[in-house]
């Protein structure tokens, strides 16, 4: 493995630091796209100069949810669909952390869909990576919210009658301030996008196409892919909500017609994050919530008068 040394925050961090000494061999199937996410995340974290102690990675349940077993950091493997509320609250309580949530398309767009909508709407300062393999991987290939219409599986043997969810459009309408799609087969772009997402102040959503050779044999390996930022065929302003919306609709349609379009689709650097909004109206203190405990004396302001006067 190449030991890529990067300088970020004035620090050199080797991406091997993110390989746990304990369970180094992921149990994903050979050829699984999930390896691509792991590699890109390690590369991005190292390049940003983050250390494992500074990162909190929360995951959902699925093949994708195994990510933090293979990524050295503070990790919390949560419940099916619930990684987002856990992640965003951890960030609120301890803003110094680099908080990343990750999970599958079933996890994030199905069972956890409401949290996805609301975390985007509130624009929490965090990164969310959705491993989109267009099926339920762990439970052996059932139809997921992103499975294309007509996709056959054991639970939908006659083919899905439902239109797939539009993850990018959903993120945009919900309020995400950074929306991108990348693919496991394009590790360099993936790493760059994760870096941008982690650096972004606000909710950054990455729909990460991860091929599942075991259960989604029908699906392409997401090659060839096109990076819309590198192509002359696509001209839109990522900062313009309407242009972004039109582009996203095109990208989502194209996927099921065989054209894999990737890149950044919406970036809003101006929209304040939840924490910035709340701080502005005095509802979040400057000092991190969790930090307030590390003095052994616990002598924070506590006087009976403060509490009791109102009740007299």
């Amino acid at each position: 493995m190449s030991a890529f040394n990067a300088i970020g925050d004035g620090r050199d961090v080797d991406q091997n630091e993110f390989t746990p000494g304990l369970e180094p061999q992921p149990t994903w199937c050979p050829g699984c796209g999930d390896f691509g996410v792991l590699k890109a995340l390690k590369g991005a974290s190292a390049e940003l100069g983050r250390t494992p102690d500074e990162i909190l990675l929360t995951t959902g349940i699925g093949c994708s949810g195994k990510l933090n077993s293979y990524f050295e950091s503070y990790g919390f493997h949560t419940l099916h669909g619930r990684s987002l509320p856990i992640a965003r609250a951890a960030k609120l309580a301890n803003p110094g952390l680099e908080v990343v949530a990750a999970g599958g398309d079933g996890d994030g767009y199905g069972i956890g869909g409401n949290h996805f909508m609301h975390t985007a709407r509130e624009n929490h300062d965090m990164t969310y990576i959705v491993f989109n393999n267009e099926i339920f991987g762990l439970t052996k290939g059932q139809t997921s919210p992103t499975s294309p219409k007509g996709h056959k599986s054991k639970t939908q043997p006659s083919g899905s009658a439902k239109d797939p969810i539009r993850p990018l459009s959903l993120a945009l309408t919900s309020g995400a301030s950074y929306v991108a799609r990348t693919a496991a087969v394009n590790p360099n772009q993936a790493k760059e996008i994760i870096i941008e997402a982690m650096e972004h102040d606000g909710f950054a959503h990455i729909d990460f196409l991860t091929q599942c050779p075991t259960w989604n044999k029908d699906a392409r390996q997401y090659v060839p892919y096109i990076d819309v930022q590198d192509s002359d065929d696509y001209d839109f302003d990522v900062n313009d909500r309407r242009e972004a919306a039109a582009m996203m609709a095109e990208v989502e349609d194209a996927l099921h017609e065989g054209t894999v379009l990737t890149g950044r689709f919406y970036v809003d650097e101006d929209r304040p994050s939840y924490q910035q909004e709340k701080r502005a109206i005095g509802e979040i203190p400057e000092e991190p919530l969790a930090e307030r405990y590390f003095d052994d004396s616990y002598e924070w302001e506590r006087s009976a008068d403060h509490f009791l006067d109102k009740h007299k």
């Binding site: 746990p20 000494g21 304990l22 369970e23 494992p52 102690d53 500074e54 990162i55 909190l56 929360t58 933090n68 077993s69 050295e72 950091s73 503070y74 990790g75 919390f76 493997h77 949560t78 419940l79 619930r82 509320p85 856990i86 992640a87 965003r88 609250a89 951890a90 960030k91 609120l92 309580a93 301890n94 110094g96 952390l97 409401n114 949290h115 909508m117 609301h118 709340k278 005095g282 509802e283 979040i284 203190p285 000092e287 919530l289 969790a290 930090e291 307030r292 405990y293 590390f294 616990y298 924070w300 302001e301 506590r302 006087s303 009976a304 403060h306 509490f307 009791l308 009740h311 007299k312």
Partner: protein
């Protein structure tokens, strides 16, 4: 038994019943009188009857009784609803000019005071003050100095300008003078005042205050009666101490957010009622198995499903004790009074962090909406101690690393308690998961490790039982043959029932239990008594079942599940009857 006085104002939702009642309660509290308030709500479909009731005395009062001495009735229905509680000589204040009250019948044995509330209020500056006119009238009837009302009005309206305060004071005086001038009836009530200084608060507020005092820095919730007041109390206050309140998109999110903040190192809490507990149960197992400290408040209301949302019940005990698939320990604490809501909240945070365990704090509607007076010393912040358990910082990390330098977050310790390192702590990076795991938090299906981790989690409970005192509270005569046991909010009614029972020369030993798990072992007390009665606000006797299991003895039960809390006098009758039945069986 305290020489008590019982007062109520009732009308329709939207009549300002709550705020008027609160003003009078505050006036009494400020005059150095003890107060215990309760609220009647009825379903909106049936017209929205609502009442605010006050029991007051110079001694402490901690229950409602079936007696009403003075009633301000804004609607005929208010009188109908309270006929059972009204008695010979009760005074009913009403406005005979109000369309719905024209020709209203006041029962012969009672005193009806027809006071033109609305027109007097208009004289004082606006019809909106008609309830305050009624309060003035009530002052005259009860011989209660109106200056006490002034100070409550000042507090209520002070921030809206002195003019409004003065108008209200005038309105009250017009009511008082009207009764004085128009009625020469001798009223026998005399609400004397004292020099004492009290605070008046309800259970939800006491829980919120306890959380602040305990260092809670993160609260996430989703509004639901009767728990919303906890959240409303914390918003606007917790920020002063560096904390934050989140209104989440649902209870799934609320509890997961509380969990996320707790894992990040903040003392964290959520509060809800039964329907929310149902949703939160999904995450409960993850909290417990990842050994994250968290306080979950269930302010119980009548269930199942949407049930009777504004009615009292203690029906969620089984849910808290056994909810969630699989098996894992949790603590369940049930404060027995409003001041105890404060102290048990503080304790819940300490227990959660000392044992890395989720703690259910079970209050109920009766505690949540009732306001009661206490001397301020009952909430002595200097007595609050904070114990964060085995939360380690970077200097202590080394003690907990294995040979491969990884942090043993689920270390198999002798006392069952493992260390916590919050993310960001140098050298402590580790993972945790809802899957069964080894000491390092890595998933495992190793049969040996599985058993060791299950045993370790149970060992925490053994340790807690050794180190903490999960005691009961005791009242009445400890040597009595009659043992009455209750949990949660029934304590006040039970304690006052003792006085009623004493009038009949009945001698009772009361045990009030604030800890359901771990709980005090009552088998000795139960087996020593001749008659054992378990009192609870539910249908199936959830706690009675547990006690029978613990003591291997059948107990008698008093169960109330009509949606209304126990009243002291009624409970005394129930106890008498139950004892009489047992006596018959024994004959």
């Amino acid at each position: 038994m305290p020489a008590d006085f019982n007062w109520a104002i009732g009308g329709e939702a939207g009549d300002g019943i709550d705020s008027t009642g609160k003003i009078f309660a505050q006036a009494l509290s400020r005059a150095g009188r003890h107060v215990f308030t309760s609220k009647d709500f009825a379903s909106r479909i049936r017209g929205g009857y609502t009442a605010y009731k006050i029991r007051t005395s110079v001694d402490q009062v901690q229950s409602v009784v079936d007696r009403l001495d003075v009633l301000i009735a804004l609607t005929p229905r208010t009188i109908e609803e309270n006929l059972d509680e009204l008695h010979d000589g009760s005074v009913i204040i009403y406005d005979g000019d109000r369309t719905t009250m024209q020709g209203v019948e006041i029962p012969d044995e009672m005193v009806g005071l027809d006071v033109p509330l609305k027109s007097l209020a208009e004289d004082a500056g606006g019809a909106i003050m008609r309830n305050v006119v009624a309060l003035g009238a009530a002052c005259e009837v009860t011989n209660f100095p109106i200056e006490n009302l002034d100070s409550a009005l000042q507090k209520r309206f002070g921030n809206k300008g002195q003019k409004l305060v003065d108008n209200n004071k005038d309105a009250a005086r017009l009511g008082r003078d009207y009764v004085g001038d128009e009625y020469d009836h001798e009223f026998n009530f005399n609400l004397e005042t004292t020099e004492n200084d009290y605070v008046l608060l309800n259970g939800d507020e006491a829980i919120g205050m306890g959380a602040l005092a305990a260092g809670c820095r993160f609260y996430s919730g989703y509004p639901i009666t009767p728990a919303t007041n906890v959240m409303e109390y914390l918003v606007g206050r917790i920020e002063r101490y560096g904390g934050h309140v989140v209104q989440a998109e649902d209870e799934l999110s609320a509890i997961n957010m509380a969990l996320g903040a707790a894992r990040a190192g903040a003392r964290s809490m959520t509060a809800t009622s039964g329907p929310g507990i149902d949703l939160m149960t999904e995450t409960f197992g993850l909290i417990a198995t990842s050994e994250t400290p968290l306080v979950i408040v269930d302010v119980m209301r009548s269930g199942p499903s949407t049930g009777m949302p504004t009615k009292q019940e203690q029906g969620d005990l089984n849910q808290m004790l056994y909810g969630g698939h699989g098996e894992i320990p949790r603590f369940v604490i049930t404060p027995t009074s409003i001041d105890e809501c404060f102290w048990k909240t503080v304790e819940a945070f300490n227990l959660a962090e000392k044992y890395n365990i989720p703690v259910y704090l079970a209050a109920d509607l009766a505690l949540a909406v009732t306001e009661q007076t206490y001397p301020p010393e009952a909430f002595d912040m200097d007595q609050v101690e904070i114990d964060r358990g085995k939360l380690v910082d970077e200097d202590e990390i080394d003690e907990w690393l294995d040979e491969s330098e990884h942090f043993r977050t689920h270390a198999l310790t002798e006392d069952g308690i493992s260390p916590r390192a919050k993310p960001g702590t140098a050298g402590g990076a580790h993972m945790s998961t809802g899957l069964e795991h080894d000491e390092l938090g890595r998933r495992t299906e190793d049969t040996g490790m599985r058993v060791e981790q299950v045993d370790k989690r149970n060992r925490k409970v053994e340790t807690a039982i050794e180190r903490e005192s999960f005691d009961y509270r005791e009242f009445g005569n400890p040597d009595s043959d009659n043992l009455v046991i209750s949990w949660g909010s029934n304590e006040g009614a039970l304690v006052e029932a003792l006085d009623f029972l004493a009038e009949d020369d009945l001698d009772v030993h009361v045990i009030s239990v604030p800890y359901i798990f771990p709980r005090p072992d009552l088998s000795e007390e139960i087996n020593a008594a001749e008659n054992v009665i378990v009192v609870e606000c539910n249908n199936t006797g959830q706690f009675a079942n547990i006690l029978e299991h613990d003591s291997l003895r059948r107990v008698q039960r008093i169960n109330k599940y009509n949606g209304v809390r126990f009243k002291a006098d009624e409970l005394a009758e129930d106890i008498k009857e139950t004892l009489a039945e047992t006596a018959e069986v024994h004959q």
